[in-house]
């Protein structure tokens, strides 16, 4: 019966045998979306777009890249100078990686603010954290591929994190390297995995979307849609709203690619890798800086590594740390203050991660690190019990109608 809704006979013929058009139609028209979503709900689509841009430009770059310690750096320079439009493709790949993280960080903070991780969306949230972890691994390995100084020493430092594991640490690092230092075998496997991971991410994204469509999007008020009066169809209302976000995203990406292509990179990575000399001040890519700051804040090797990973893993258990039944920060006045403190704390960690590990920066890093964990492990559980929340509206429509009446 479903086939009859298409006027095109070819579409009807295919859909009767392979109901892809019905599925698309279902997602476009029948999937109810809360009608009060704001622009922060664009960032899921934008992250998906960033992933597509990364995969497409990455496949094209791989056609011109050589994963060998003697040729990697010069093959990247060849891409920049000789390959047709190579500079454009590489700059898009570099900057879209940063934009991917910007978009995902906004997406995560959106979830934190509006309580999108709460029941029944815990798995949706956890799959998101898995995607975030996979992104970090992919980005790290991608940064190694140009085989500049930052590539080499970044790879050395990050892989050495695993040497902090008692007893088997050294063996694990040797295993990761495929030798006794970061060398050609390391570069080869990083290239292989860097090519693989985006497709793993795409797979988890599919699960993320399946989980999302089970209960639908959360919304700025954080209460469930009560019926058709609270929702609108995804198409054309949110497709067109997403298009506005996509246009802005592409515009800003183009500005970065054409006017500030290296602003989010490090100049030292244009120096070929030298295993005999570490640069004076090595920093990871900006999107790792908050975690890097946590790593350096701890004066113990194993402790620093554990705390850095804990900073991400605490997000997995977030749905059970924040037990307040009210989702949206709009109705949680105290939570809202702490949310912004956490936001400032994360920005501060990012800033401190980029500074030398000495003097006042170390002290500040420690304060910020303690606050980060305090927020999740102490403040959120306490708020769930002691915070007096504001009364929730009866439905998504109610506040809008009330305002309309008030104006009239």
């Amino acid at each position: 019966m479903s086939a009859e809704k298409f006027s095109n006979p070819v579409v009807r013929w295919i859909d009767h045998r392979l109901p892809v058009f019905s599925m698309l139609d279902h997602e476009k028209y029948d999937y109810p979306v809360p009608k009060n979503l704001n622009y922060f709900w664009n960032f899921g689509v934008l992250a998906g777009l960033a992933l597509v841009i990364m995969i497409v430009t990455g496949i094209v770059l791989a056609m011109n890249y050589t994963a060998h310690v003697d040729h990697a750096f010069s093959s990247v320079e060849r891409i920049m100078r000789d390959v047709n439009h190579g500079w454009l493709i590489r700059y898009i790949h570099m900057n879209a990686a940063s934009f991917f993280f910007i978009v995902v960080y906004i997406h995560i903070f959106r979830g934190l603010y509006y309580g999108s991780y709460k029941a029944p969306r815990e798995l949706l949230w956890m799959l998101g954290v898995v995607i975030f972890l996979l992104m970090m691994a992919t980005a790290f390995m991608g940064y190694v591929l140009p085989w500049g100084q930052m590539s080499f020493w970044g790879a050395t430092v990050i892989t050495n994190l695993f040497s902090a594991i008692p007893l088997v640490g050294e063996s694990i690092v040797t295993f990761l390297w495929g030798g006794f230092s970061v060398d050609n075998p390391t570069l080869n496997r990083f290239f292989s995995l860097h090519y693989l991971m985006p497709f793993v991410i795409a797979g988890v994204v599919v699960l993320h979307i399946v989980a999302l469509h089970r209960f639908g999007s959360n919304n700025p008020i954080g209460i469930d849609a009560k019926g058709p009066q609270d929702t609108i169809s995804f198409h054309p209302y949110y497709t067109i709203k997403d298009m506005v976000g996509i246009a802005m995203f592409l515009l800003l990406l183009a500005v970065a690619v054409f006017f500030f292509p290296n602003a989010m990179g490090h100049p030292d990575n244009y120096i070929p890798a030298n295993p005999m000399q570490t640069p004076a001040h090595i920093v990871p890519e900006w999107y790792f800086l908050p975690f890097y700051a946590i790593l350096r804040a701890v004066p113990d090797k194993l402790g620093g590594v554990l705390l850095m990973f804990a900073a991400i893993f605490v997000l997995f258990i977030l749905p059970w740390l924040d037990r307040s039944p009210v989702r949206s920060a709009r109705f949680r006045p105290v939570f809202r203050i702490f949310f912004w403190l956490l936001f400032i704390d994360c920005i501060a960690l990012g800033y401190l991660g980029g500074k030398p590990a000495e003097g006042v920066y170390v002290v500040l890093s420690r304060i910020a690190t303690v606050w980060y964990f305090l927020h999740f492990l102490l403040i959120l559980p306490l708020l769930s019990v002691f915070e007096t929340t504001r009364p929730l509206p009866k439905s998504i429509s109610e506040p809008v109608l009330a305002t309309a009446k008030g104006v009239a």
């Binding site: 028209y29 060849r78 000789d82 390959v83 047709n84 439009h85 493709i89």
Partner: protein
């Protein structure tokens, strides 16, 4: 239900309104298509030869050291180029036949700049194998030029196809004499 709601209702009272909206929709799609094409082009064009590849598109060879009856093979654009210092006998035999009888009719004079020096791209015009006949002792085929072992094409002393599946003569690359001793191929 949502299906009917979501599609913009067409105004039955004012047909001009429909036309304007259609124009905007079509113009938007057209603009999107132009943008998509502009984005796709660099991604495809990167597969064309890069600047450094194009820069290697010519090769200079000293031909003065090639003795009469001797042949050398040089690399030009990643392909073998045969340079043969032909004997008087080979030149005579290349000119002996009526070229109109050949599969790919061409006079020997049209294929050389100096009769004794024959320059050929050493790639069989059938499916791209490298024919034998450069080294002494190799099979030279029934016409004493080159023989392609892959599918049995016979080339004569001018590199013209005489027998076998190849459709055309061995290609003569563009080349110039920089001096009496040196040629530049490409």
């Amino acid at each position: 239900m949502a299906n009917t709601n979501s599609k913009p209702a067409k105004s039955a009272t004012d047909p001009r309104e429909v036309g304007r909206r259609d124009f905007i929709v079509v113009a938007t799609y057209a603009m999107g298509a132009v943008g998509a094409a502009a984005v796709v082009w660099p991604l495809i064009d990167q597969m064309n030869p890069a600047a450094d590849t194009l820069a290697l598109a010519s090769t200079e060879v000293d031909v003065s050291k090639i003795a009469e009856g001797q042949a050398i093979t040089v690399t030009w654009r990643g392909k073998p180029v045969f340079i043969r210092h032909r004997t008087a006998d080979e030149i005579t035999r290349a000119n002996a036949i009526d070229s109109s009888e050949l599969r790919d009719p061409q006079e020997d004079e049209a294929r050389v700049q100096k009769p004794e020096l024959l320059v050929l791209v050493g790639v069989c015009t059938h499916l791209g194998c490298v024919p034998l006949g450069q080294k002494t002792g190799e099979v030279k085929g029934e016409y004493d030029g080159w023989f392609c072992p892959c599918h049995g094409s016979h080339y004569d002393t001018s590199g013209r196809i005489r027998k076998g599946p190849a459709p055309t003569n061995l290609e003569v690359p563009p080349y110039t004499f920089l001096s009496d001793a040196v040629i530049r191929i490409g």
